[in-house]
């Protein structure tokens, strides 16, 4: 497989990158290349210009005097996983980063790239030279191969980092040709599998800001794959739990599920259920079941809805148990 021809620009600043994205029609941003280049090799996009952030200086994680953690979106996944600052201040993110793909991909892929990845579907992520030639909705066409009688796109969003950042109440800094803005992470997602990322064509994510966490808390991240590594999730889940000083009464929980729909989903029923409760095994099991209530579960990549529902309960139990154990200090 080979890349189509293109021209390359190397902006020296995010502002310059934004300007180039605006000025060069048919341009795409690339940081790690692990997401865009395979898609280009599969013939799914063929930009005239690549605006490359490769080689730009990457700032180290920074903790502000107020205790916020500021991360450069160009940080590699390996760097996130092994960063002492992130392991201390936002372990959920470090955990999630360590579960992405393979070591080589983690060495190359970036935080920003992972958050802004395209939604995926078996019928979409392949070459269409002789199979499924008529374009589906996601390829600008008029049909869906996955749900043939359907009238919308069912591609799923499979990022592992997004659920983690949802749980951490993160915000992101965006630089565009019109200026800078900051939004809560969940506003990055449109809930439309056709175009899952809300950024305008000339905008780039520059920083991820994780607020200070005051109380007693623990996190857990669970990802179901058929094999250990290598894969996108069948379902993934991030959990961030805060307790009272007794270390077992839940003060609040943030739970986010990914890979089973076109955007990461919080689980408000389960979160409400856990508030004020003692984090026993039974409560955790009950919460795991509650997570599937009202959760939009889309079958994908060979997994059925029935299976994903059961699997989600299991992953939720694992993540909640890990979070609870982290608080108590047990391994």
């Amino acid at each position: 497989m080979y890349l189509p021809k293109f021209m390359i620009e190397r902006p020296e600043s995010p502002e310059e990158a934004a300007t180039l994205l605006k000025v060069r029609k048919e341009s795409r941003l690339v940081a790690g290349g692990t997401e865009l280049f395979p898609r280009m090799k599969y013939g799914l996009c063929s930009p005239e210009f690549i605006i490359s952030l490769k080689g730009s200086k990457i700032s180290r994680p920074r903790v502000t005097p107020e205790g916020m953690l500021i991360l450069d979106a160009k940080m590699s996944l390996t760097a996130i996983n092994s960063s002492p600052e992130i392991q201390e201040k936002a372990p959920l993110l470090a955990m999630a980063a360590g579960r992405v793909a393979t070591r080589e991909i983690r060495n190359m892929g970036t935080l920003g790239g992972n958050l802004c990845q395209e939604t995926r579907c078996l019928y979409f992520n392949q070459k269409h030279t002789f199979q499924f030639r008529e374009p589906c909705f996601k390829r600008g066409g008029e049909q869906c191969y996955f749900i043939p009688k359907g009238n919308k796109c069912w591609a799923v969003f499979m990022s592992d980092l997004a659920p983690a950042l949802f749980c951490l109440d993160a915000s992101i800094n965006i630089v565009g040709s019109g200026g800078v803005r900051q939004i809560e992470i969940h506003k990055l997602y449109t809930h439309d599998p056709l175009k899952p990322i809300s950024l305008k064509a000339d905008e780039i994510v520059t920083k991820i800001i994780i607020p200070k966490n005051e109380g007693t808390s623990g996190s857990g991240f669970a990802k179901f794959t058929m094999r250990g590594g290598m894969e996108f999730a069948g379902v993934n889940i991030g959990v961030f739990v805060e307790t009272e000083k007794d270390l077992h009464t839940c003060k609040g929980a943030r739970i986010t599920v990914g890979a089973i729909s076109g955007w990461p989903q919080r689980a408000p029923e389960a979160e409400t259920f856990l508030e004020g409760k003692d984090l026993t095994d039974d409560i955790i099991t009950a919460a795991s079941r509650k997570i599937t209530e009202n959760m939009k579960i889309v079958p994908h990549h060979g997994y059925t809805k029935g299976y994903l529902t059961e699997c989600l309960k299991s992953q939720a139990k694992t993540a909640l148990t890990d979070a609870t154990n982290a608080i108590i200090g047990a391994t």
């Binding site: 392949q126 199979q131 990549h301 299976y307 059961e310 699997c311």
Partner: protein, 774 residues
């Protein structure tokens, strides 16, 4: 007698250093000046008539040097099987019809891939789409869309029959009447694929003197030469298939592929080398996959577990052409009748055309699918009768010297010992059915399976021959047509020669797998390298040894029977000082025998005195002298929350004859355990109306290092290697991917009481079996 110095030892691979330093050249690495890039145009339709192909616009693309379609070929068909009953049925490029999505319709050679792909897009093909059928049982119904006319010898009112195998012995009706207990079950196995890391790749270079040189990733160059020569209309002497290392094959690179033909023809037309490398996505969609088999088995037993009658029907989904479908239904019979005594047997196997890509052998070639069925059922029978799985198997297992219904003899069969040893080694009796480890979220279980495999039976080119050339200094050059596809062929042949001549491995140079310079070999897909080619090497080396001894006898005035070879010398037994070096003897031979430089010649053939291979259709006829048996246990852990199953440990007790290189044998076993667990839990080519949904490594989930299972081996040695004597050592390349699959199925039942009748054993099926998903 005397100790063995090389055979049976853990000798390091001869090609290891080249591979571990990146110097090994595979077909994908061949660089030739002026090489053109070739690409194939593939059909988007599962079934269609080709009305017209217009290449004019495509030919205008700068850099395009040639475009070929069926019109540019001689219209000669080829096929995996080419017999009077099953004649060749495939054109190298689709002639008037396409029968599967991805079928090859045209090929382009251009100076670069952009030009080639641009040209492909501009080739205009007019199709008349025809109704298609994808399921074999639907394709068999009368009235189904006709992919090919049903085989003229199968008069059952069925459509799309590519071939049928029938075998009857004894009287199954009478047998069932005598049975105390009868079960009938249906098992389905799914579509899996080889997953070789090196893509399909061919470089063809037609030289100005009319010689076609070809490098191609394959399992044996002689069959490629034969089929290329035939379809291109060239004499075999004009086609040279040269040696390149092979990055895995597992059955997927045996017979002629369209791209090989196209690379050659394009080279002939452009007078430039042409390289065609399939993309990974092409390999997953349009190339050959393994055979999914539907097996219906009815077995009658006595109260004590003795099998009295068995009736089987297999249906193979062979894809759009006959491929090796007619072979797998024959083999499925073989895999049924070999391990256990079945006094009354009726077998019917159907190979059915469907509008899917062609299927081909994949490691095990029917054995995994068949043993899964038979072994699962046997466990169910045992449970019903209150017997344990080992007991029932011991009752029915064949023994050394038993005659098989087809007239073959199993010779040195160690199956009973395999079962007894493995039961002891794994503490099977105590673990199977025990309550321990079966509560809580993760539940453990153990299961056993039995399989047999055969070695090197008759298939084109039907012969392996080896030449052993002495060099002046007493070192040796070994010429063999054998293809090392990773299994270590060159190494074990060197070990045999080293043993017969007592020459160090470093002083044996191997020249292999070149149709011009090396003698013929049966190919590395018939489990015959160790047995057939190995014996040929033994004979060739022995030939050299006897010539050396004869010379030495005269010089030393001794009897040849009193001479031994050691350290590249021939000496008198008991008087090591009375010796002559090989170097001296070679010079002597040249001097005294009018220039004879001492070249040893050896050849071997399975079933040496049988004129032909058994009938694929009736199974009549002798098949092989080399049956291998194994028993394997699987210890699994089932996660009752996610349904995921992990293979914790696999133990393989194999009647291997004797291992020529134990380290290589272990490697083969490990690899097969991995392939079996992939088959069991992870891998599935997902298809929908002839199209592949998951044509990538990411979504065709082959085992990674995290899925690695603990693998232990018990060698049941049933033979010794004796210098100068023929041996029957058994195959180790395919036989261990079958019983383990069955063992896994039985282990899952032991762990969680879920009996699965179809592969793969997905988490979903487990959870359904546990009632967690409705």
């Amino acid at each position: 007698m005397g100790d063995l110095d090389y055979v049976g030892k853990r000798i390091l691979r001869k090609d290891g250093p080249e591979k571990v330093t990146g110097k090994a050249i595979y077909s994908v690495d061949i660089q030739l000046r002026g090489k053109l890039v070739g690409r194939i145009l593939r059909s988007p339709h599962a079934h269609a008539r080709i009305l017209n192909i217009d290449t004019r616009r495509a030919l205008q693309v700068p850099g395009v040097k040639s475009i070929i379609t069926a019109k540019d070929t001689l219209g000669i068909k080829h096929g995996f099987v080419e017999t009077p009953r099953y004649p060749a049925d495939q054109y190298p490029l689709a002639m008037d019809k396409v029968r599967f999505v991805g079928e090859e319709v045209a090929a382009v050679a251009a100076t670069d891939r952009y030009a080639a792909d641009e040209a492909l897009d501009l080739i205009e093909v007019e199709y008349e789409v025809l109704p298609a059928v994808f399921d074999p049982e639907e394709a068999m119904l009368s009235g189904a869309p006709e992919i090919h006319p049903t085989h003229p010898k199968v008069n059952e009112g069925l459509s799309n029959i590519g071939g049928k195998t029938t075998s009857v012995w004894g009287d199954v009706e009478a047998g069932f009447k005598e049975a105390d207990y009868i079960r009938e079950d249906r098992f389905e196995s799914h579509l899996r694929t080889h997953g070789y890391l090196e893509p399909q790749a061919t470089v063809a270079s037609f030289e100005s003197d009319g010689k076609l040189n070809v490098w191609t990733s394959s399992q044996g160059p002689f069959i490629k030469r034969a089929k290329l020569a035939k379809t291109l209309g060239l004499p075999q002497s004009s086609v040279r298939v040269k040696k390149a290392y092979v990055g895995g094959a597992f059955g997927g690179k045996i017979d002629l592929f369209s791209h090989e033909f196209c690379a050659a023809l394009l080279s002939m037309k452009t007078s430039r080398p042409v390289e065609i490398i399939a993309t990974r996505e092409e390999i997953f969609t349009a190339y050959r996959h393994g055979q999914p088999l539907i097996v219906t088995v009815k077995t009658g037993v006595k109260k004590d577990g003795t099998i009295v009658a068995q009736q089987l029907k297999t249906i193979n989904n062979s894809g759009a052409y006959r491929g090796s479908g007619v072979v797998v239904i024959f083999l499925a019979w073989g895999f049924t009748m070999a391990p256990y005594r079945v006094p009354n047997l009726k077998y019917d196997g159907y190979s059915v055309y469907t509008n899917n890509p062609i299927r081909t052998p994949q490691r095990g070639h029917g054995a995994p699918q068949l043993r899964f069925a038979v072994e699962s059922q046997l466990d169910m029978i045992a449970e019903e009768l209150g017997l344990d799985p080992m007991e029932i198997r011991l009752k029915n297992a064949r023994e050394s010297g038993e005659m098989l219904p087809n007239g073959d003899n199993v010779h040195n069969c160690g199956l009973k010992d395999c079962l007894l040893d493995i039961a002891k080694h794994t503490d099977f009796k105590n673990k199977f059915g025990s309550k321990q480890g079966k509560s809580g979220r993760f539940r453990k279980g153990i299961g056993v399976g039995v399989s047999s495999y055969f070695g090197g039976s008759l298939i084109y080119p039907n012969s392996s021959s080896v030449l052993v050339k002495m060099n002046d200094d007493g070192s040796v050059t070994l010429l063999t047509g054998a293809m090392d596809i990773g299994q270590g062929a060159e190494t074990i042949l060197s070990q045999i020669v080293a043993e017969e001549l007592k020459i160090p491995m470093e002083e044996i140079q191997v020249v292999a797998a070149d149709t011009e310079t090396t003698p013929v070999d049966i190919g590395s897909w018939i489990s015959g390298n160790a047995y057939v080619c190995g014996n040929a090497a033994r004979v060739a080396a022995g030939d050299v040894r006897e010539k050396l001894k004869a010379l030495a006898a005269r010089e030393l005035e001794a009897d040849t029977r009193d001479l031994v070879v050691k350290d590249k010398r021939v000496h008198v037994k008991g008087s090591p000082d009375r010796s002559l070096s090989y170097a001296h003897l070679v010079a002597l031979s040249i001097q005294k025998h009018r220039g004879d430089p001492i070249i040893g010649n050896g050849h071997w053939r399975t079933m040496r005195d049988e004129p032909t291979h058994p009938s694929l259709a009736s199974t009549k006829g002798r098949w092989t002298e080399n049956y291998a048996f194994d028993a394997q246990t699987a210890e699994v852990e089932v996660d009752t929350e996610t349904g995921k199953v992990k293979l914790l440990k696999a133990v393989t007790a194999h009647d291997c004859g004797f291992p020529i290189n134990p380290m290589l044998v272990e490697g083969q076993i490990d690899g097969q355990i991995s392939m079996a667990l992939g088959h069991a839990f992870l891998e599935e080519v997902m298809m929908e109306e002839g199209r592949t949904l998951n044509p990538s490594w990411l979504d065709y989930r082959m085992p990674s290092i995290r899925d690695m299972a603990n693998s232990e081996y018990i060698d049941i040695i049933t033979e010794k290697y004796r210098i100068g004597k023929p041996y029957r050592t058994k195959e180790v390349g395919e036989g261990y991917v079958s019983a383990i699959l069955a063992a896994i199925a039985n282990a899952i039942y032991d762990a969680v009481g879920v009996r699965l009748f179809s592969t793969p054993f997905t988490p979903e099926k487990i959870l359904r079996g546990l009632g967690k998903i409705k």
